[in-house]
Subunit: 339 residues, 4 copies
């Protein structure tokens, strides 16, 4: 019998991406596509591209009904909204995977500073496991609730994990220069994402104050066992999908390319969704578009190492990774539906 | 002494384009950049790209003050808004050039049907000359008030003018298939113009019901001396600027390419902003980007003629043509500021 | 046991798309990816995006070996090259699906004129069935060799089929104005497809002389039972994938939208890959990107009908349709691997 | 009387940009557009966009004739080719501005390593002044021959100049992460610049081995009076024009934003083509497209400073800066033709 899966907040880009993946997933069936709309549309009326693929009727966000009908519940709502709704769904024996940022930061005051608002469900934050499979897979297997990582954090954490785990780099002075496609800004029209404004341009934004920075630092800190500060500068570029992060760090001693490669291989050779580039080759986002892969390449220049990672922000950076987490939690093949 | 020029509604894309042109125009100086904002910004605060080019303080839309300080007044406001403000500016000895559609359609009921609203200044419509210089230059010279053509109409009318003037084509069955960049939709963010929605896509819209269709038919009718019906299908494509119109018509008899070329040359050889392509060559919008040119090419296939025209929708399709009209009205070199 | 499938000429965009589809197809396994390279690479060395998806070793184009190891053989080579290689593969009991244009035109002199060269395998042309499943499915089922349709023809033929089948339109004066993404030009760098040349631009090309025109006319003629001439104007637009065709025809009499809709439904309701838009709605290429769908909408304007169809040129316009043909020939579910 | 100006190698993107600027420059007239073509075309036959703007006949690269007819000679040829032709033009009393990289690097062995070839005109390298006007204006005024800076170097040098001049930053560990549009790769079609390959993607390339790195280090060294090593990582993004460089350096002590701003103002307030962003605002390439501006913003994060600069790679990064150099050399208004 198929696992029943609900999506709360199915009208954004991550919701759409979840639906696209889940309708092809062999071990699940959709139970609810819950949205805040009146009157209630068919899903393909919101997204005509899914006509004949998902013509299911949407339903309202009714916690009791959704919990009754579902084994796994994905939250694809904006932050803030998520934490007001979440408590009604917790502790009912359902597996929860939250794509918002509301349960990622374990220190509530850090959350409140980063997002500029009070956390309204602070008591439950500790009940969520940060779901970056290549790093925290054993915890994911045992967890009931997953805080699915942000898109920038995914790209940066996977770039640095083998270096921090093996204590190869200084914990100070790490720089992450990220380039993201416009879909990362969500589906709501805004001046910055108006086609004539962002087409044929590149710009940095929220330099040093992006809300993903504390999330990155928290998880880097977990990898290092110590506090890590990074400089994070995101850039908006004129493409729809993809993130390329170029990460700069200081090696503690001299390493050959092959020595570092060995560390990355030790971490990722058995991981289905990380691909390492050969020496002198570097990732490009296009190779990961519409896939759950994270492609990683690196270059050593004196005592600096430059690590470059590419993902699709909506797949490995959001919905694909969410399904990967579900696969791990439910004991499915980790690749099911996303390879 | 320089001619003093005001722009009413300087915060849209056509207003911006006007400013870019006028600051380099040798015979004018800006008197007012009138906007609806509080507090009143410097123009370069709205458009940082104009820092060190136009740091002028904006001013409010005060008809008396603007008329007192200006010789020429450009209206770059949306339709509807324009006709409520216009009466206060008329008949004060100022030259008016209106980039909106409010005074283009001479039949008010046609306007009201096309734009779905009552015309609130119907009495003044007759006081505006339709300002398509290559067709109506003599009228423009003598006029006080200009209704500046729409972008689609400009591209289609210039494509067909020599054929209609010389009665080469049937007046029925003319088809105009136009492709426009996204800036034609204006500066306000909307779902259709959200980058991830219109990037990497092409779609037809308002098929057979676009508000520019009556304008095209009115002016084609003036050229032909008879009623002309067209089929007009605009398409939105993933680029910022440019319109390519591909126009299909039935020739009344067989013509050689050279015979038709001679008719286009007779109309356009002395026109500084129309360029004719050689046989077998066709226009592309890129060649006209940021210019006031309209490039035209054609192909005869049996008794059909296919005429293709390319313009920059914000220049020849709006602000460049408005300045061309000013140049003609004021007796300046027609090319000043726009070549 | 899985059906063994070879691809001859796997290094172009259609070859790549075939591989992407076939590696996920449940009833086939790849036998050969035959290329003209020395030394012979792994497929993922040519296309790093397929690392961990298809790391198979490529092989040379050895007819005997490929026929011995394969049940189905896809040709994804350029035209001209195809017809010199094809004879060695025919009549060996293998199912052949040719994505080139070499076996589509049944009149060899038409081919020779359109492609500007002698046909070097004229005797076998008649042995290929034109494989447009929504029109010729019964023939495909019985055929051994398929000439897979071109991308423009697919979009235009599906737009017009219900109208011609039901004799609703005049056979003269049909116009197809098509807009294509750049991948339609193939993988070889050329000036027209150099990013700075085609980005942010639109242009018509090969107006009235495109090599796909005779193919379109041949198949429209088959639908109509009579000779059909069309005016075909392709345009290159600045996107990677997708074709939108806007087709104009004269209705023989007045029809309501619902009457025409009924005819389209009769043809396509049971077809898994054609989707009809509701009244007032029109297709956009983005909805079909990376899918095998053809989305169709239409508008009646007096006695003209405007039919708009959208496909992904590399999927329904090439490799997806090729797999659809294989599915039909082999008795698989028609949707396998492509839905 | 107008200054006579020749362009050697007018068929590339920088040549085209030079022509576009020079035809509007009030104090010069074109004497030769020298190209390597047979038969010799009109310039607008190579670039139809310049029809009616520059229909001048091209001429061959005849040093005697060009020198006889010209006061200023721009070289817009690729490197390697330039140094074989240059000697015939030197020491004839003509002002030379070379847009290639052949005379930028003062250490010939560094050149030979960076460009992988012997320098064939080593004796003349010392006769060229590096022409970055905001830094070396006094030398430019007195020079006869200018080595016009590269596009990446321009963006990075202007970002760092006030910091190095004032000894605010450590000379080690400087990182420049640059994002460039595709036109930087030149006009010749190549796989990396094929539209479907670079559209909708971002990738790093030549990481740590880009040929512009020694040029950047040479000039940073001149600013600092000491050796400077940088990490330079260029990225190709899917747009036609523009470079954004994000530069990271370590401040020697704590500075307020206002203190650093004062240093930038001291360097650039009188410079017509550098614009400083207010605190919390950052440059975007779109604001500099088709202009000679360099927009600069910065952020201090602890002891790191992040400086972001945006230019149009073909204008301030090449041809606009070349004209700026000519204006300075010839005693024209520095802004003539480029503001």
């Amino acid at each position: 019998m198929k696992t029943k899966v609900a999506i709360i907040g199915a009208t954004g880009y991550t919701g759409l991406e979840l639906v696209k993946i889940l309708v092809r997933h062999k071990q699940v069936q959709l139970s609810h596509l819950a949205v805040r709309r009146t009157p209630m549309p068919k899903y393909s009326e919101i997204f005509p591209e899914l006509t004949k693929i998902c013509d299911m009727q949407c339903s309202e966000i009714d916690a009791d009904k959704i919990c009754k009908d579902s084994d796994v519940i994905f939250f694809a709502l904006p932050h803030k909204v998520t934490m007001t709704l979440m408590p009604s769904f917790l502790n009912k024996g359902k597996k929860i995977i939250d794509l918002s940022s509301d349960y990622r930061l374990k220190d509530v005051s850090t959350y409140e500073k980063a997002y500029g608002q009070k956390h309204e469900d602070a008591t439950h934050v500790k009940d969520f496991v940060y779901g970056l499979p290549e790093v925290t897979k054993e915890n994911i297997k045992k967890s009931q609730n997953i805080a699915n990582p942000g898109c920038f954090p995914t790209s940066i954490l996977l770039a640095l994990y083998p270096l921090l785990k093996n204590k190869c780099i200084n914990l100070e002075g790490i720089i992450a220069d990220s380039k993201t496609g416009v879909s990362g800004g969500g589906r709501e029209p805004k001046p910055d994402f108006h086609f004539p404004e962002c087409n044929e341009s590149v710009k940095p934004y929220r330099v040093g104050v992006h809300q993903h920075e504390p999330e990155i630092e928290q998880e880097l800190g977990n990898m290092a066992g110590k506090n890590v500060d990074i400089i994070f500068v995101p850039h908006l570029i004129s493409m729809t999908r993809g993130i390329l992060s170029t990460v700069y760090a200081d090696l503690k001693k001299e390493y050959s390319w092959q020595e570092i490669e060995a560390l990355y291989k030790a971490c990722y050779s058995n991981e289905p969704f990380v691909r390492l580039k050969a020496e002198g080759q570097y990732p490009q986002t296009k190779d990961t578009t519409n896939t759950n892969f994270c492609d990683i390449g690196f270059k050593i220049i004196g005592k600096k190492i430059v690590v470059m990672s590419a993902i699709d922000n909506l797949v490995k950076g959001a919905s694909g990774q969410a399904v990967q987490n579900m696969n791990i939690m439910c004991g499915f093949d980790e690749r099911e539906g996303i390879l």
